[in-house]
């Protein structure tokens, strides 16, 4: 059943490409990123439209994860990382000194490559973000929001009878959906996904991809992926990175059917990467 689902998505992918262009929610005019003296990203200029899925593809070490982590300043954790140029979200420079990373990250959520639920109960995993941001005023409201988030992540039916069991006891795919529920619970506008399916089996992957497609209505999603098929299935826009440079970006259909750059063509046909 799940494999049919994937096929259906591949078949319908073409239709999704025909979304109307909107004002970009994120724009990055001329961003350079350095790790100490080594330049990781060179002059990246990219506009990311709202309520769509953009996939970042490219060979390992090309800088796509670095770029993703610039968007909610997770790169701040790396002492030697330095970002030059503006990254604007809703027109506001997120690297401006007065920007507070706590509210930035509440606005721009992130799902990591390996599922990393907190070693706490399933309920606590989702409730934690709501608690620290003070988003609920009563216990019943908290429980409602947790349930809603788990439903939106497609996990509620599987875990509603064991919410007090540890989140780390779930299967890999369930853990990743728990992480997604945890992220969407705090109502971000943008969700960053760093190869969210690379540690999962095909069935769990299909579940997540289906979920990403549903979430598109409410969130702007940027996903890093190594799987060209996944990029084709879930995204409307694609950006191809190579050796720290943004080689080409545009509508997914166009990138995959008629790439302008030779390197893009080599990569998507499997000759480099």
């Amino acid at each position: 059943m799940s494999f049919q689902l994937i096929e259906r998505q591949i078949l319908t992918a073409g239709k999704k490409h025909d979304v109307p262009e909107q004002d970009p929610v994120i724009s990055t005019p001329n961003v350079d990123v350095y790790y100490a003296d080594k330049q990781a990203l060179d002059n990246i200029t990219l506009d990311i439209p709202a309520n769509a899925v953009m996939s970042l593809i490219g060979p390992s070490g090309c800088g796509k994860t670095t770029f993703l982590r610039c968007l909610n300043r997770m790169n701040d954790l790396i002492d030697i990382c330095r970002v030059e140029g503006d990254i604007k979200i809703d027109g506001q420079d997120i690297y401006a000194p007065e920007v507070n990373t706590v509210s930035l990250r509440a606005h721009v959520g992130i799902v990591f490559q390996r599922p990393n639920p907190f070693p706490k109960s399933i309920f606590e995993n989702v409730a934690y973000g709501l608690r620290i941001h003070g988003l609920t005023s009563s216990k019943s409201e908290l429980a409602d929001r947790v349930e809603e988030s788990l439903r939106r992540a497609g996990l509620w039916e599987e875990v509603n009878d064991r919410l007090d069991e540890p989140g780390t006891g779930l299967s890999g795919g369930q853990q990743q959906r728990l992480c997604i529920a945890r992220t969407i619970a705090v109502e971000p506008k943008i969700i960053l996904m760093d190869e969210p399916c690379s540690a999962l089996d095909p069935i769990a992957t299909a579940r997540i991809e289906e979920l990403i497609d549903e979430m598109r209505a409410n969130f702007t999603i940027i996903i890093v992926t190594h799987s060209m098929q996944q990029a084709a299935r879930v995204s409307q826009h694609t950006a191809f990175f190579h050796m720290g440079k943004l080689v080409e970006h545009g509508q997914t259909k166009q990138i995959f059917t008629s790439p302008q750059d030779e390197r893009t063509e080599s990569y998507i046909t499997g000759r480099i990467g």
């Binding site: 997770m74 706590v102 990250r105 907190f118 070693p119 973000g129």
Partner: protein
């Protein structure tokens, strides 16, 4: 059929032999270690077990109403009543010198035992009562077989005459070996039969409480700051090197520091568990910091990323997620440090906790001594009876240590979380 998997080449044989050699050497090492441990523990136990028993002598004392003023029962001469009781028990002793020996059968504590009894129930005045008194340490040693009869009489603490009195007491059932509760419930004494471990035990307990109360919070907060927040630059590297070096500084140096700073500069009470605990805390601090930093470093970065990624502030990330996961490791470090502090004598000598302390301290400001210091003091005493007290005190110290480690293991189990 092939013999690929059963054929023994010389090379394969050599590898198997090496592995077996290594395993046998490992087992041998463990065996030797256990043997040493058993020898140590059994030696101490066999030497110390005697301290659990104490010889008592029964005397019938006539509470002469003429000697006991009903209004001043506190300062009557009870020693005289006991001497009289001894004289009447052994009526054939007449010489002055022999009488003095006779009086030495019971401990000097006997008159206070009698006084307490009479003060508690004054109605006993005028009666003749049978009371068990603590025997002197020489009698006790004879009963425990620690005075060899082969030794020349002039060299012995108990001569033939005294031995015959003791034999007489035994034959009448007036001499008994009883459980020595005094050892656990009283402080130090110059008389071995009266000496107890409690003041040293309480001193050690207070010192360790002060030490833990200071070094644990200081240590974990220093570790959290250095590991999670401090910028990685030349200063933090310098501090790290210094902390590592402090962990290797001889403990007596900390004692000197305590003497100079806590006693002389701050004027804190000398010999008190407060100062002892502070000095031990200084000594324990580097150990706790190093262990806590290692525990923090062992928390996977994905936990930090997860918390920061949903907008937890760095403080929330550390205190909600990272520190709880590192807590078992921090506790282990703290207990290792505390166990070292418990056995430490040198720094306590410098701040005066080596004094003879007979009273059990009631607070951390009163003079006290510590278990290892008490062991040292008793080991230094000439009386034969202190030998078994020394071993018994070592057993108490080891038990204290075991209880502490057990508590640490239980706490660690309680806080341990999987990630």
């Amino acid at each position: 059929m092939t013999d690929h998997f059963t054929k023994m080449t010389p090379e394969l044989k050599r590898r198997l032999r090496n592995e077996q050699w290594f395993q046998w050497m490992g087992r041998g090492a463990i065996f030797v270690a256990i043997a040493f441990l058993l020898v140590m523990v059994s030696t101490i136990a066999s030497m110390g077990v005697g301290a659990l028993r104490q010889t008592h002598i029964e005397l019938s004392v006539f509470l002469d109403p003429q000697k006991l003023d009903a209004t001043r029962l506190h300062d009557a001469d009870y020693g005289r009543l006991i001497k009289k009781a001894l004289r009447s028990r052994f009526a054939n002793v007449t010489k002055r010198r022999d009488k003095r020996k006779l009086y030495n059968l019971v401990s000097s504590q006997a008159e206070y035992t009698l006084r307490d009894l009479v003060v508690r129930s004054p109605s006993l005045r005028g009666q003749t009562i049978n009371i068990w008194f603590t025997a002197s340490d020489d009698v006790d040693m004879l009963i425990k077989g620690n005075i060899a009869s082969s030794t020349d009489e002039t060299q012995r603490r108990i001569d033939h005459r005294e031995a015959s009195w003791i034999n007489d007491l035994i034959s009448k059932g007036q001499l008994e070996s009883r459980f020595n509760s005094r050892f656990f419930w009283s402080g130090d004494s110059r008389e071995p039969e009266l000496a107890g471990i409690l003041s040293a035990f309480v001193g050690s307990l207070f010192s360790l409480l002060v030490c833990f109360g200071l070094s644990f919070p200081l240590g974990i907060f220093a570790a959290i700051y250095l590991e999670e927040f401090a910028p990685k630059n030349r200063w933090s590297a310098f501090i790290e090197v210094n902390i590592n070096n402090l962990a290797a500084v001889p403990s007596i140096v900390f004692g000197l520091l305590g003497l100079a700073v806590f006693l002389n500069a701050f004027g804190l009470p000398r010999s008190s568990p407060l100062v002892g605990g502070m000095v031990l805390a200084l000594m324990t601090l580097p150990t706790i910091i190093i262990a806590s930093r290692a525990a923090l470093r062992a928390v996977p970065p994905s936990i930090r990323e997860a918390a920061l990624g949903i907008g937890a502030s760095p403080i929330q990330t550390v205190f909600h997620h990272v520190a709880p996961l590192a807590l078992p490791g921090m506790l282990t470090g703290a207990i290792v440090g505390m166990a070292r502090a418990l056995g430490e004598t040198a720094p306590l000598l410098m701040i005066g906790m080596v004094a003879f302390v007979a009273d059990v301290p009631n607070s951390i400001f009163e003079p006290a001594t510590a278990l290892p210091v008490q062991i040292f003091l008793w080991a230094d005493s000439p009386e034969r009876a202190f030998l078994e007290k020394t071993s018994a005190a070592i057993i108490v110290l080891l038990c204290f240590l075991i209880v502490m480690n057990l508590a640490a293991i239980l706490l660690r189990r309680k806080f341990e979380q999987r990630y």
